[in-house]
Subunit: 906 residues, 2 copies
C-alpha cells in the first residue's frame, strides 16, 4: 500500500498519539491521545499533513494509495460505529475539520453533519424522532457545504457569493418573514423543511447541478476544501505574521458526529479543568442541555454554569469530573475541553491546554498547586522545577499590570492579538492628533486605528491604550506600544473602522467617537464601556513560585533604581542589589535644576564649586535613602552620564524667544539675558550628542562634578554605616572606550574617596567599575578589567553603537518597518541581538575574567528584564541581570528557566 | 674590575661601534664607528648609559669600579695624545658632552675646554703663542663650567643666577664699557685677561670657594652634571612629548679638544655629503678659517662656501671629500658632519644622518641616486629596496605640499616643531576671531598664538597657517592643523608673544600685527616677510622611486574620487582604481539642489519620480566622466549615504525666518511657504543623524533614489563601453548592519541593473558589495560576505561607532585633549586604532574570506592614506587601500614599506 497517510482513532485505541503533532496536527494528535487513554472520544480518522504536503507539491493531486486508505478507514469507522454513511436506517454523520501542527484558531474551515442526504435525513428522523432537528441539520449542512466547499475562497476573485452563507441566510429570512416570525427558534419543523427545500433549489439553480447526495463525494470534496483552506489568504497572512512555515501543511480530521440536542439527557458544553481566571481547583465551564455547540455560539439560549449538571445529569457530571482529573494527570496542565452528551453518554470532542486563555494569576496558582498536589512529579524538587517551567514570563508580566477583574461578568465584544500587556479604559478617538491633544488635557482616551504608522506615534503618548484592526504581535502598533508600556490590542479584525464617520462596528454593535471602551492587552479582549480592573499584585502563589525560582537560578537579579522609593519596591519584588542608580535624574528635579544650570554655566571654578557645594548635600541624602533601602546589598551608582546641554533650556525655544525679543524688545535686559543663555546652549550643542561629550569624557574635561558625586556617595555611606546600615557602594564610570580613560578617572576619584573616608574615620567597602557600552570597551575588555572591579553591560548604548542606530531616531523611522518586514526578527532594543551585540558581550566576559578573576559582571540595559536576553546572559556566564523593579519577578522566573533549560540541554 | 662602563676610542680603533647606540648613545656610537673606519676623530672615551641608569637607581652614586675605569681611560687618552690634563708644557683639554640613545637636540648640556687652570693656561699660551685665544678660552670655560655644572637647573627653585652665564656676560660687558669698545672682537688679550680674572673673583665670592683648578675634579663634576641634565625639566618634557622612555639614560662623551683658531691653516666647518636642499651629488657646507665652532654660531665672521677650501687648503679639502665619500659608503646615507682643522690636520668631530634636515625632494633624489650608483647594494633589486626604506612617507608628503623654494637665500629667524606640512605666507594676527574675519574677507593671515584651545578652532579656517609658541607635534594646534591640512609650526619657543601689545619678538627682532611672515610646516622654519615658494611636484626621481615601490608592494593603492577631475589626478598619481566615489556630492551642487529638494519633499510617488527623472541624466554624465578616466580599472560607487535633511535648508535659519515673518508679515504666502518647509525639515530632523535614517536604511525606506542611481551607473557603463572604454563598476551599499538589509537592497537593485543591461543589450562586469562601517557588520561579516562581492572598510564611521565618538563633536571638545594628555596615543581618525577598530577589521577579513573566497577587501576611510594604518592593512591581508588622490604616492611608498618590513620580520 506504500506510505501510511491515514490514522484511525476509536474503539478504545488509536494509531496516533500526542507526540505525532507534526504529522496529525494538534487536534488529530490530541484526539488520538485521548482515545488511547480511554476517554470517550467519538471515533474517526486523521489524514496526515504529509498528504496535504504531497497535494501541494504535486499540482493538487492525492498521493498514490490515499483514496484506498481513506476508504478502508471509513469502512472501519462504519464498523466501529455500527452505522453507515448515507444509511436510511442508521446513518453515520461526520465532521470534517482541519488541524495544523501549530494552532491557527479560526483560520481554516470546518464542515459539520456530513453524510446528510435525502435518505439519511429519514434515518435521523427515525432515530431521533425529531423532525425539526433533522431539517435544521440538513439545511445547515447544505449552507455550510456550499459555503465552505464550493463557493471558493472569499478573498479570491473567483468567490461566488451566490453559493455563500449569506445567500442561504436570506432564504431563511424570507421564510421567517412569510411565517411572520422573528426568531429562528419560532420556526417549526415545516418551516425548516421549506428552508431546506428552497436551499436545495437555490443551490441547483446557481451551481448548475443538484446538491451532491453521495456522502463519499461530499467527503472527498470536503477533504479537498480543507487542503485548499491551508492556502487561503487569511491562513497565509496568519502564518506570515506568526512566522509559521508554509510547508507544514494541515491534517484533516474526520470524526463521527454526536448530538447534544437529543433531549434533556443530551447537551453540550465547554469546561476548564480549573478556573482559568483565578486558578482555583474546580472544574469551570458552561453547559447547555438539549443543544448543539452552534446553539451556544448563536446564543439561542443562555448556557448555565457547569455545576448545574450535578442536578440534571449527576452521573454524567461525575464522569466529566473524572475525565478532567484524568486529563490533568495525563497532560500535567490545565485543560480546556469541549464535550457533548448524547442521550446520557459523554463524548469529549476536543481537549487542549487551557493556559492560552487563562490569566497569569491562574497559571501561577495552578502551577504551584499542581506541584504541591504532587501532580507534576513524585519528587518535590522535580515538581517545583516543572511548575516553574509551566509558567511563562509573560504570565507574570500580565499579573504585574493592571488587569481586567476576572470576576467581571461582561463578555468581550471582540478579541484581537494581545500585543502589549495591561488593561485600559477611555473614550474612543480615531486620530493620533486627537489622542495627543486630549491626552495632554488629562482625558483618558483609547486610540483606535486601522493600523498605525510612524506618523501616529505622537498619539501613543496621549492615549491610555491602542486598538488596531490590522497587524499582529510584531506590527508597528504592537512594537511601539510595548516600547512605551501602553496596553495594546492589535489586529482585531472583528472591528470595522469608518474613519470618515468616526465610528467602528463589531457585527451590529456601533461604537462612536467618545464612547467608552476597555481593552485588555494581556489577553487581546475588547469590552464596551468601563470594566472594573484590579491593581497589579504579587499573589502568595507567585511569592512561592519565585522562591522556588531563586532556588534553581544561578543569575542574580538586581534592579535599576534611581530613587529610594524605587529601591524599596525593587527589594519587595526580590531584587538582590541595585545594578544601576542613575544620578542625573536627581539633577533634573525642578528645585535643583537652577543650581545645576548655574554649575554648568559657571565662568570661574569658584562659581562652579559654589553651585556644586549646594548640590552635594542633596545628592548625599538621595544616596542615603537608597543605601538604607538596600541594607546589606550592593548598590551600583553611575556617575553623571548625559551631555550637559540636556540640563539647559531647549535650544529651539530659546531661539524663537530671542528672535521675537529682538523685534519686540530690543535693548532690554531680558533680551540680553536670553541671548547669553542661547549662546551658552549653542556652545554646548552637539551634532550627535549620543556620541559626544558625555560619560567619563565629562569627568575628564570637568572633574569637579564627579568629584562632588563621589564625595556625596562616600559621605552618605559613612553616615548610614554609622546608623548601623550595611552599605556596599559601587561607583560606576560610564562610557569607557579606552583603558586610559578609566585609569585617569579612577585615579582621580580614588583620591576623593580616600579623603572622605579619612575625614570621617570610617572604613567603607567601595569599588570602582565601568559600564561596557561601546564596542571598543568590549573589544579591549582584557585591558580594562585590570583596572575595574566590575563590568556592567549597558546594552542599550552598546546596541546603538554596535548597529550604528540611534534608538530615538530609528524606532519610529525605520526600525519598526525592519521588524515588520522581517529584516530583523525582533527589535534589538527589546531583545538582545545575540549575533552582534551578544558576540561582543561574550568576548568581553571572557577577556575580562581572564585578566581579572575577581571581576563581577552584570547587565543593566533594558535587556536585563527580557526573558530571551536573560537566557543569553545565563549562557554567557554573567553574574547578574539588573532591570526595572517591576520586571524583577519576571527576571527571577526567566533566570530559573535559563538554568533549567541549560540543565536539560546538558 | 666588574662590569665595563667606559669605552675608549682613538689611536685608530675604538671599543664601541655604531651598533652600540643604546649603550653609548648616538654620538658615542658614531664617534667609535668613525674611529674604527680610520676617520680622523679626536680621541676620547664614552661613559655608558648604564652608568647613568645605575646613578639614578642608586641615589645618584656611581657604580663600583666606574671611577677606576674613568681614570684608566683618562690615562690612556693622555698616552695616546701625548698630553696631560692640567700640564704646563703640553696640556690636554677635553670636551664633555651628553649623548642619549635617541636624538634630543639641545636638551642637555655641554662643557668645552675642560682641563684649563692657571697652569695649563700657560701651556696653551706656550703652544699656540696666542694669549688672546688662551685667555678667551679660559674665561669661556669658567663661565660655562659655572653655568652648566654649578648654578643648578634653571627651571628649579635651587637655581643660582649669580653663578649663571648672565652674571659672567655682565663682567665682560663691564670690561668692554671700561675699554670703550662695542664688539667682543675689539677686546685685546689684556682685556680678556681682566675678564678672566674678574670672573674667577666673582665665582669665588659667590660660590664661597675658589674656582676648581684640579682638572680631575672638573671632570668628575662635569660628568655628574651631564647625568643630572638627563632629568632636567626640559629633557623630561621633551621625552614625554616624543614618547621616549625615562629609563634610557644618557652617555657622557669625553673627547680631546682640537682648535680651529690656530692660524690660517686651521679652521672649522660643517658639511653635508650631498646638497640637503636639492639632493645634488656634491659636498655642501660652510667653512670659516682660523676659527672655532662658536665663532660661526656667534656670527663673528661670515662663513664661506666649502668649495673655497679648494683654494686655501686644497689638501685638506681633498681629504674632506674622501671622508665624505667614505662616510656615505659606510652609512649608506647622506651625512651631516662637523669638522675642525688644527694646523692643517683635519678632525671630524661629529657625524650624523643628514636626512632630518634635508628636504623631501633631496631625500628622494639621494635615495634613487645612491641605488643607481650601487652605493646601497651590489644587487640592483636590493639597492632599490634599500632606497625605498631610506625615504619616509613624510618626505613625499612634504614634496606634495607647497614648499619654501630651497634656493631661497634668506635664513629662517626661528625654528619650531614641524607640526603640519606645507608653506604659508600671510599677515600676522593674534586672535582666532581676527583670523576668521579677515580670512573670510579673502585676506591671507597667519594665526600666531601662545598655544591653541578648542575656542580657537574657528580661526584655523580663516588662516593660511598657524604658528604657536608652546606645544609639540601632538599639541592641539598640530592636531587640528593636520586635520585641516593647514601648515603649522608649533612649539616655536624662540618666539615670545605679547598679546596685549599685539607683537612677538625673536631675540631683538620685533614682529607686529600686520607684518608679513612665512612658515614652513614641513621643516618647522619661520621666515620674515614673503618667501618664494614652489608648487607641489612629482620629480622624475619620485616617479622612479614609486615605480620601484609598485614592484615590491602587495597592497593595491586606489583613490577616493567624487568627480572626473579627481579621477584623472588620481590616475596621474598612480591610483589602480577608484575605491570610493561618493554620489551625494553630485546632489549637493547648486544647480541640482532644488531638484533634489523637490524629490525629497515629494508628496506623491509621481512627484518623486519626476524629480528623479531630471537627476538621472546628470548622474549618468558624472559617472561617464569617471569611467572614462579609469578606463580598464575598477570604480566603486557608493549609493547615497547621508541623511536627507542634509540636502534641505538649515533648520535654525528657517526657524528664525518663520518667527520673524510671523511678527512682521502674518498671513503672507511667503510665511506659509517657509512654514511648510520648516515643517518638512522638522519632520526629517534627527537627534543623532550619524546613527539615523541614512545609508542602506534610506534605500529600504525610499527605494526610488538608489534605483535611479543604479540605473545611472549602468546606463553610463553601457554608453562608455560602447565608446570602447573598459568599464568595471562596483556598486557599494553603505551602512549595512545586518545581512538581511543587504539581501533586500541587493535583490531590488539586481533587478534594476538587469533591466538596464537588457534594455541596452550590453554585458557589463558589475558587482555589488558593501561598506563595513558599523561594528555589527564586522562581527557578522561571515554572513554578509555570502551576499557581497566585496567589502570596503569605512573606517571613519567604524571608528566613530567603535569608540562611540562623533568626530565632528569630539575633535574640538575632548579628543585633542585626550591626545595631548596621552589618554590616546594618536587621533584615531588619523591613525587606525589597531586594538579596537583593527580587531574588528581583522575579524571581518577572516570571517568574510572564509565564507566567500572570492571576496575583495579594501579600505576607503581616511586611514587609507596614513602610513601606520597602511602597514596594518597589509598585515591584515587587505587587497587594497583607497585614499585621497594627493596621498596616493605616499600610500604607494607606505605599501612598499609594509611589504619590505614584513619580509624582514619573516
Amino acid at each position: 500500500m506504500g506510505k501510511k497517510y491515514v490514522y484511525f482513532f476509536g474503539g478504545g485505541k488509536a494509531e496516533g498519539n500526542a507526540g505525532m503533532r507534526s504529522l496529525l496536527g494538534g487536534k488529530g494528535a490530541n484526539l488520538a491521545e485521548m482515545t488511547n487513554i480511554a476517554l470517550p472520544v467519538p471515533p474517526g480518522y486523521s489524514v496526515s499533513t504529509e498528504a496535504c504536503k504531497f497535494y501541494y507539491e504535486h499540482g493538487e493531486n492525492y498521493p498514490p494509495g490515499l483514496e484506498e486508505q481513506i476508504e478502508k478507514n471509513l469502512v472501519k469507522l462504519e464498523e466501529v460505529m455500527e452505522k453507515k454513511l448515507g444509511d436510511t436506517a442508521n446513518p453515520l454523520l461526520v465532521s470534517v475539520r482541519s488541524g495544523a501542527p501549530v494552532s491557527m484558531p479560526g483560520m481554516m474551515d470546518t464542515v459539520l453533519n456530513l453524510g446528510l442526504n435525502d435518505q439519511s435525513l429519514q434515518g435521523i428522523i427515525n432515530q431521533t424522532g425529531n423532525e425539526r432537528f433533522a431539517y435544521d441539520s440538513y439545511r445547515r449542512f447544505i449552507m455550510m457545504f456550499s459555503d465552505v466547499v464550493l463557493s471558493g475562497a472569499k478573498d479570491s476573485p473567483d468567490y461566488r457569493p451566490e453559493l455563500g452563507r449569506h445567500a442561504f441566510e436570506n432564504i431563511f429570512a424570507e421564510v421567517k418573514k412569510k411565517l411572520g416570525v422573528k426568531e429562528d427558534t419560532d420556526v417549526d419543523a415545516d418551516g425548516l423543511k421549506e428552508v431546506m427545500e428552497r436551499s436545495k433549489e437555490h443551490f441547483e439553480k446557481e451551481y448548475g447541478k443538484p446538491f451532491p447526495g453521495d456522502p463519499r463525494e461530499q467527503l472527498r470534496l470536503s477533504t479537498n476544501a480543507v487542503f485548499e483552506s491551508w492556502n487561503n489568504k487569511r491562513a497565509r497572512d496568519f502564518r506570515r505574521i506568526k512566522n509559521i512555515p508554509d510547508e507544514l501543511g494541515t491534517a484533516v480530521n474526520i470524526q463521527t458526529m454526536v448530538f447534544g440536542n437529543m433531549g434533556e439527557n443530551s447537551g453540550t458544553g465547554v469546561a476548564f479543568t480549573r478556573d482559568p481566571s483565578t486558578g482555583q481547583k474546580k472544574v469551570y465551564g458552561n453547559y447547555l442541555a438539549d443543544a448543539q455547540g452552534e446553539d451556544v455560539v448563536a446564543g439561542v439560549r443562555q448556557a448555565v454554569p457547569i455545576e448545574q449538571m450535578q442536578q440534571t445529569v449527576p452521573e454524567v457530571y461525575n464522569q466529566l469530573l473524572n475525565v478532567c482529573q484524568l486529563l490533568e494527570k495525563h497532560y500535567q496542565d490545565i485543560q480546556d475541553i469541549e464535550f457533548t452528551i448524547e442521550k446520557g453518554k459523554l463524548y469529549v470532542l476536543q481537549c487542549r491546554s487551557g493556559k492560552p486563555t487563562a490569566t497569569g494569576q491562574a497559571v501561577v496558582k495552578i502551577a504551584v498547586d499542581m506541584a504541591r498536589e504532587g501532580l507534576l512529579a513524585e519528587n518535590i524538587e522535580e515538581g517545583r522545577k516543572k511548575a516553574l517551567l509551566m509558567v511563562e514570563p509573560q504570565h507574570i508580566d500580565h499579573m504585574l499590570h493592571r488587569q481586567i477583574d476576572p470576576r467581571v461578568e461582561a463578555g468581550p465584544v471582540a478579541k484581537g492579538v494581545n500585543a502589549s500587556s495591561g488593561a485600559a479604559t477611555g473614550a474612543v478617538v480615531f486620530s493620533a492628533d486627537d489622542a495627543e491633544k486630549r491626552g495632554e488635557a488629562g482625558e483618558k482616551v483609547i486610540l483606535v486605528r486601522p493600523e498605525t504608522t510612524p506618523d501616529d506615534v505622537h498619539g501613543f503618548y496621549g492615549a491610555q491604550g491602542i486598538l488596531t484592526q490590522v497587524g499582529g504581535a510584531t506590527s508597528h502598533a504592537a512594537l511601539v506600544a510595548r516600547g512605551m508600556g501602553k496596553p495594546c490590542v492589535a489586529g482585531c479584525d472583528q472591528i470595522s473602522i469608518d474613519l470618515e464617520a468616526k465610528q467602528f462596528t463589531i457585527d451590529d454593535i456601533v461604537v462612536k467617537e467618545e464612547d467608552t471602551i476597555s481593552i485588555d492587552g494581556s489577553t487581546g479582549r475588547v469590552f464596551l464601556g468601563e470594566v472594573p480592573t484590579i491593581e497589579a499584585q504579587m499573589t502568595p502563589e507567585l511569592q512561592t513560585l519565585l522562591t522556588w525560582a531563586d532556588q534553581v537560578k544561578r543569575l542574580g537579579v538586581w534592579a535599576n533604581a534611581d530613587y529610594p522609593d524605587d529601591a524599596v519596591r525593587a527589594r519587595e519584588f526580590g531584587a538582590q542589589g541595585v545594578g544601576l542608580c542613575r544620578t542625573e535624574h536627581m539633577f533634573m528635579e525642578t528645585d535643583r535644576l537652577p543650581t545645576v544650570q548655574k554649575m554648568i554655566l559657571a565662568k570661574t571654578e569658584q562659581q562652579r564649586r559654589s553651585a556644586l557645594d549646594k548640590l552635594l548635600p542633596l545628592q548625599r541624602e538621595d544616596f542615603k535613602g537608597i543605601f538604607r533601602a538596600m541594607d546589606g546589598l550592593p548598590v551600583i551608582i553611575r556617575l553623571i552620564d548625559p551631555p550637559l546641554h540636556e540640563f539647559l533650556p531647549d535650544h529651539d525655544e530659546l531661539l524663537v524667544e530671542v528672535t521675537e525679543l529682538r523685534l519686540k524688545a530690543p535693548g532690554t535686559t531680558k533680551l540680553a539675558e536670553k541671548e547669553r543663555m542661547l549662546q551658552a546652549v549653542k556652545s554646548m550643542r552637539e551634532q550627535n550628542p549620543m556620541l559626544g561629550l558625555r560619560g567619563c569624557r565629562l569627568g575628564l574635561v570637568m572633574p569637579e562634578i564627579i568629584q562632588m558625586q563621589v564625595r556625596a556617595i562616600l559621605e552618605a555611606a559613612c553616615e548610614v554605616e554609622a546608623e548601623g546600615i550595611d552599605v556596599h557602594p559601587k561607583i560606576m564610570i560610564p562610557l569607557i572606550g579606552h583603558v586610559n580613560e578609566l585609569k585617569a578617572v579612577r585615579q582621580q576619584l580614588k583620591g576623593t574617596a580616600k579623603k572622605v573616608t579619612e575625614e570621617r574615620g570610617m572604613n567603607i567597602d567601595y569599588k570602582f567599575g565601568t559600564m561596557i557600552e561601546v564596542p571598543r570597551a568590549a573589544l579591549t575588555a582584557g585591558e580594562i578589567a585590570k583596572v575595574a572591579d566590575f563590568f556592567s553591560f549597558g546594552t542599550n548604548d552598546l546596541t546603538q553603537t554596535t548597529f550604528g542606530i540611534s534608538r530615538d531616531d530609528a524606532e519610529a523611522k525605520f526600525l519598526m518597518r525592519y521588524v515588520e518586514n522581517g529584516i530583523l526578527s525582533a527589535n534589538p532594543f527589546q531583545t538582545l541581538d545575540q549575533k552582534g551585540v551578544g558576540t561582543l558581550v561574550k568576548m568581553a566576559v571572557e577577556a575580562g575574567r581572564q585578566s581579572n578573576s575577581d571581576l563581577e559582571v552584570g547587565i543593566c540595559g533594558e535587556h536585563g528584564g527580557d526573558p530571551a536576553s536573560i537566557e543569553f546572559c545565563h549562557r554567557a556566564g554573567l553574574d547578574y541581570v539588573s532591570c526595572s523593579p517591576y520586571r524583577v519577578p519576571i527576571a527571577r522566573l526567566a533566570a530559573a528557566h535559563a538554568a533549567l533549560k541549560k540543565q536539560s540541554i546538558a
